[in-house]
């Protein structure tokens, strides 16, 4: 076992796949000698050389468009977007080209788009966005969002091996805030399988990304303060998502809180709430609750950002209301 941060998990996953398969190549802004804005790819240029690791101009659309061209010619490109927010300047390449090519033509497009996302560090409106809801609404994409170092590594391995375009969301707040012991070998973590992070029978929290950690903290507090047992499920893959684990958890707990960092309307939580309403309504002892950011842009000032972003305090409060409904 080795100790790994979330960022080191991402790096290890990339490195493992690049060592395994010479068709895996990596490009993006400032990722070569400089190692990327967050230093995920530091040392990659030296190890893999300039044919496989190279910088691009500030041209998200050309980066993703050319990745589609490479992927359809046998490569497995991994593109680093400096921030998920900037992926929006290439959204037609993602949605209309990458995601739709296989359905239209039968040709697979195995690309992985690494998108650093999320707030909590003063990034303001354009370096903090949570765009998973948007990407989940694009047929043909897969969307993964790890919360732990081991999953960051294993899900990235699976994303790169997958024959489809995969949006790999990496939470910037977690880069250096989360550590765990992980096995030396970079085994893949299958896409589409959620992880039960904490067991309990009184309520279940469905969440992902940075909010997994806030939710666990809230669950620990209600256990200590009020004796409730709260299950926490990390969705890990948002598309395709793990319906079975969600429905089993609802059957076991009968109360559901959905937590995510991004805004509310048509957020991924709305999909989970709809699933529970459609398939498990008869199992509920209380209305499904959502704890999300409000429908506003991500603000900069710490007072505003704290008010915007869900955290353990807000989750704890929502959880108590749900448990005592």
């Amino acid at each position: 076992m080795i100790e790994s941060t979330y960022l080191e998990g991402i790096r290890a996953g990339l490195q493992a796949e690049m060592r395994e398969d010479e068709n895996v190549i990596l490009f993006g802004q400032d990722i070569a000698a400089f190692g990327g804005a967050f230093k995920v790819t530091l040392g990659f240029l030296d190890e893999f050389g300039p044919k496989r690791v190279f910088n691009t101009p500030i041209s998200e659309s050309a980066m993703i468009g050319s990745a589609i061209g490479m992927a359809t010619q046998g490569l497995r490109p991994v593109v680093e977007l400096q921030f998920a927010d900037f992926g929006l300047t290439a959204v037609h390449q993602i949605m209309n080209n990458a995601a739709m090519t296989h359905y239209r033509t039968g040709i697979p497009v195995p690309i992985t788009l690494r998108m650093p996302c999320g707030g909590g560090f003063g990034g303001g409106p354009f370096h903090s966005e949570e765009l998973e809801g948007l990407f989940c609404n694009m047929p043909g994409l897969k969307v993964v969002y790890p919360a732990f170092p081991g999953d960051a590594r294993g899900l990235l391995v699976s994303a790169i091996r997958d024959p489809n375009p995969v949006i790999y969301l990496e939470n910037k707040y977690l880069y250096r805030h989360v550590k765990e012991m992980i096995p030396r070998k970079a085994d893949p973590v299958p896409l589409g399988i959620a992880r039960i992070c904490r067991t309990g029978r009184d309520a279940v929290i469905l969440t992902y990304g940075a909010m997994v950690h806030e939710s666990i903290q809230a669950a620990e507090r209600v256990a200590a303060d009020a004796g409730y047992g709260v299950m926490v499920i990390d969705m890990r893959t948002l598309k395709p998502y793990d319906e079975d684990t969600v429905l089993s958890a609802v059957a076991a707990c009968n109360r559901v809180l959905i937590v995510h960092e991004g805004c509310r309307t048509c957020g991924f939580g709305a999909e989970l709430a709809a699933l529970v309403a459609e398939k498990a309504f008869h199992l509920l002892d209380a209305p499904v609750r959502r704890m999300t950011a409000p429908d506003v842009p991500v603000p900069f000032a710490p007072e505003l950002e704290k008010a915007y972003r869900p955290d353990a305090d807000k989750i704890e409060q929502a959880l108590m209301e749900l448990l005592e409904f």
């Binding site: 190549i25 044919k51 190279f54 691009t56 101009p57 041209s59 998200e60 659309s61 050309a62 980066m63 993703i64 468009g65 050319s66 990745a67 589609i68 061209g69 490479m70 992927a71 359809t72 010619q73 046998g74 490569l75 490109p77 300047t89 037609h92 390449q93 209309n96 080209n97 739709m100 090519t101 296989h102 359905y103 239209r104 033509t105 039968g106 040709i107 697979p108 497009v109 195995p110 047929p139 043909g140 897969k142 997958d162 024959p163 489809n164």
Partner: protein
Amino acid sequence: MTLDKDKGLEMLRVMLMTRAIEERLIRLYHQGKIYGGVYTGYGQEATGAATAALAGPNDIFTPCIRNLSAHIGRGASAMDVFRQWLGRKDGPTGGRDSNVHFGSAENGVYAMISHLGAMIPVCVGAVMGRRYRGLDSVGFAFIGDGGTSTGDFHEAVNFAAVRDVPVVIMIENNHYAYSTPTREQYRCKHLVDRAAGYGIEGIRVDGNDAVAMAEALGPVVEDIRRNPRPVLVEADTMRMRGHGEHDDFSYVPKELLDAYAARDPIRLARKQAADHGWADDAAADALAGEIQSVVDDAYKAALAESRPDASTLTLGVYAGD
């Protein structure tokens, strides 16, 4: 560079085939047999024919809506085209996408998406992918005068320049983007002037004369194959019909259409074939007749074919499922 007889006749065949298919598509549209609009490259057949004549087996094409001739030049059959337009089950996209939005992995031709400019970076990346694997590949990315105003055009040309990717960016200046004339589209004198801004070469050619175009571009294509870099080509041509068949194109001055009608690509190709001694009038007529019967057989056969089964709607969104 001088073309040989085989290449010259092949270009003539491609252009005649393209014209015959599109004339039939227009008729099918007016007969109500095509679902959706019909968009042709009528009058622009030379660019696809000339570039296909210069291309090698590993080259990549990303044609746009006016470039059926590029598909034909790379090996698409009349049957492929009619199946696609008629949305038939066994067509290149099986009814999942419309009109010229089809390609062929085998022929190195990509299925365009409607967003102009979007296929240029795909072309650049596909050439990079093939060259990464050690294949000798050059790309031919088509775009119109209107499409040069997109962000993707700029991003992709600059990207190819920076990465030294051998791609011919073929701008077909057909004077109108739907109803928008070039004076409302750009301010430079010629679009090819932009090449200097990207630090690449720019070449302006007569887009209606396939033989002259192939002769002018042949050495350039061979040079960028050996010394990889992109090149910008502006081919002067004219859209001889509306944006689609629903459009009466009354906004285009008649004198402009007349001037280009006198320089119709097929008329020029036939003259070139006669002048070079590749095919006299009788031989060209015979070729056109053969092609016409292939086209007639193909559209009738495609009309008789099965349509997609609605139960297949959700299949194939993901690879590997």
